[in-house]
């Protein structure tokens, strides 16, 4: 038992996948030439005025509902005032005291236990632009394409008790948001960003310690590493008889440390006040229900159903439902091939291996549910072996061809003809007297080598069960 308890709360910013920006009709599209997706409104030109994108509100309410929040009837926008060159109006339109969603929770599983974390609030705000700093240059360059891209900020209660929990929370949050379809939630591309409030206190204490705010953790791994570092740093400070200072610290991925962002200026005073250019949002009950109806089945519900309806092991259900694309693929495949466990095994085996190796999601490959179902059928009816199936997978991923076609083109049909196999078995016995001797002397594993030789000669096509059976018969 550690001497200290860790307290973590996360503030997660998620970019919403709308076509246009939050307050103007510029596209939200990513990666274009600098300052080409701008207009008087998102440039904050004198005289320009914001008009709210309806879909942003609907998406934020959707996120709130997916996170079990209450949707208050009245919400409004406020200005958060501060100067920075990536903020053209020198204020950010955000929500201060009356956000769109409050008092929710998110549950995730860690080490076999379910943990519930409170969601304080979900609010809407506009993104800032991008500053390019030269390494040695004494100036910066501002690009406002991203300015005004809609964001939601999801603030958790300080309910997380370890960096590991923080990572698990974040992964689950990503999954839930992905299911709602309101964002791509790609941390690497910046559509999901995470800041953390971290403090430690003596184990058993009820009173939280002084917290630091950690910024710039840009991947799930970075979140865990950054938090581990920060918790250790705070412990060292306390152990050395020091005090943790309330401050903002930045995670440096290369050096693997957090460092203080000391500002020469006085503490921020954002001077929030209601934005007079915008009017209140009144969310009537009917609107909330309409949005609730549009929510898809959430990962937890799916997981439970996979276990009860399809008899999948809890672990398999959790892995498959973590990604909506994977889970949708699973269900589409099941419609054509009814062995859930077999489908799950393919998804969690060859397919996941391929996806992880390429860093993509299943819908980004050329593989289709029908093709997977067809492949599994080919295995079931003995047309191909499990081993051959792996070869076919590779071809399916790269060419997108139907498995039957691949099997035919490459002559991969399984050899189940007893005589044909027997001929190869004879040849292998003749060519490998040493192994034959070993097996007869009681070295059981020598049979494995012999089977392997048969498979090699048959180019993997021999029915492995029949090979095994015939070998044992001949050597008896």
């Amino acid at each position: 038992m550690s001497k200290y308890a860790t307290v973590i709360g996360l503030e997660v910013h998620i970019e919403l996948a709308t076509a246009s920006k939050i307050f103007c009709s510029c596209p939200t599209e990513f990666g274009k030439e600098p300052n080409t997706h701008v207009c008087p409104v998102c440039l904050g030109l004198p005289g320009s005025l914001p008009v709210l994108n309806r879909r942003v509100v609907e998406f934020a309410i959707k996120a709130g509902l997916a996170l079990n929040c209450e949707i208050p009837r009245f919400a409004k926008f406020d200005r958060k005032n501060y100067f920075y060159p990536d903020l053209p109006k020198a204020y950010q339109i955000s929500q201060y005291d009356l956000p769109l969603a409050v008092s929710g929770y998110l549950e995730f599983a860690l080490n076999g236990e379910t943990k519930r974390v409170g969601i304080t609030r979900v609010h809407i705000e506009e993104d800032a632009g991008k500053l390019v700093h030269g390494d040695f240059a004494d100036y910066s360059l501002a690009d406002y394409n991203r300015t005004g891209v809609p964001l939601i900020e999801i603030v958790s209660e300080p309910d997380l008790r370890s960096p590991e929990e923080a990572k698990a929370y974040l992964e689950k949050l990503k999954s839930v948001i992905q299911y709602t379809g309101i964002s791509d939630v790609k941390m690497e591309e910046g559509s999901l960003r995470c800041d953390a409030n971290v403090s430690i206190m003596p184990a058993g204490s009820k009173e939280f310690g002084t917290r630091s705010e950690i910024k710039n953790m840009n991947s799930f791994k970075a979140v865990q590493r950054g938090l581990v570092y920060e918790v250790d740093r705070q412990k060292e400070v306390l152990e050395a008889g020091g005090k943790v200072v309330q401050e903002t610290r930045r995670w440096d991925e290369h050096k693997g440390i957090t460092f203080s962002m000391r500002s020469k200026e006085e503490a921020h005073d954002y001077r929030y006040f209601p934005d007079p250019d915008l009017v209140p949002i009144i969310v009537e009950h009917d609107w909330v229900e309409e949005i609730r109806q549009s929510l898809p089945e959430m990962p937890d519900a799916r997981r439970t159903r996979y276990v009860s309806e399809w008899g999948l092991p809890e672990y398999d259900a959790a892995v498959i439902t973590a990604s909506k694309a994977m889970s949708d693929f699973f269900e589409a495949t099941l419609a054509e091939y009814h062995d859930a466990k077999a489908v799950a095994n393919s998804l969690m085996g060859e397919i996941l291996k391929y996806l992880n190796a390429h860093g993509i999601e299943i819908h980004q490959t050329r593989l289709t549910p029908s093709h997977l179902a067809e492949l599994l059928k080919l295995q079931t009816d003995g047309t191909i072996s499990g081993k051959i199936a792996k070869t076919v997978f590779e071809e399916m991923f790269s060419s997108g061809k139907k498995p039957a076609e691949i099997v035919k083109e490459q002559g991969l049909v399984q050899i189940s003809d007893k005589d044909a196999i027997a001929a190869i078995v004879e040849q292998v016995i003749t060519d490998n007297p040493k192994s034959v001797e070993d097996f007869k002397a009681g070295t059981e594993k020598a049979i494995g080598f012999l089977v392997g030789q048969v498979m090699k000669i048959s180019k993997g096509r021999a029915n492995p069960e029949m090979v095994n059976q015939l070998l044992r018969e001949k050597l008896r």
Binding site: T18, A19, S20, C24, S25, C26, P27, E33, P34, N35, T36, H37, V38, C39, P40, C42, L43, V51, L52, N53, R54, R55, V56, V57, F83, Y84, P85, L131, V132, H133, A137, D138, Y139, S140, L141, A142, D143, Y144, M261, R262, S263, K264, E265, E266, D269, R271, P274, P276, L278, V279, P280, I281, I282
Partner: protein, 95 residues
């Protein structure tokens, strides 16, 4: 005196205004005069009064999520004090 010179300097800093000592002194006395005048409001009991940030009873004013062409880049950069590679150039940021 409601505001001290030090507070005035702090407010100036929040508003990103540089201020000489003379100016600070002048603003301190002027702002104090205005704030004292504003004290009149404290004669009114407003505990149960709702604030009016908007005079209009408008709510839920939205636009649809549609894209329209904005400015050409050269129009966007037309007034830029300094420009480089299609971006606005600013002096280095010292944190």
């Amino acid at each position: 005196m409601k505001l001290t010179g030090k507070e005035v300097a702090h407010v100036a800093s929040l508003a990103r205004l540089a201020m000489s000592e003379d100016e600070t002194e002048k603003f301190t006395s002027q702002l104090n005069a205005i704030l004292e005048f504003a004290d009149k409001l404290n004669l009114l009991e407003t505990k149960d009064i709702l604030p009016t940030a908007h005079v209009l009873p408008l709510k839920n004013v939205f636009r649809e999520d549609r894209i329209c062409p904005g400015l050409e880049r050269k129009e966007a950069l037309l007034n830029a004090p300094e420009e480089e590679e299609g971006m606005f150039r600013v002096p280095r940021v010292i944190e």
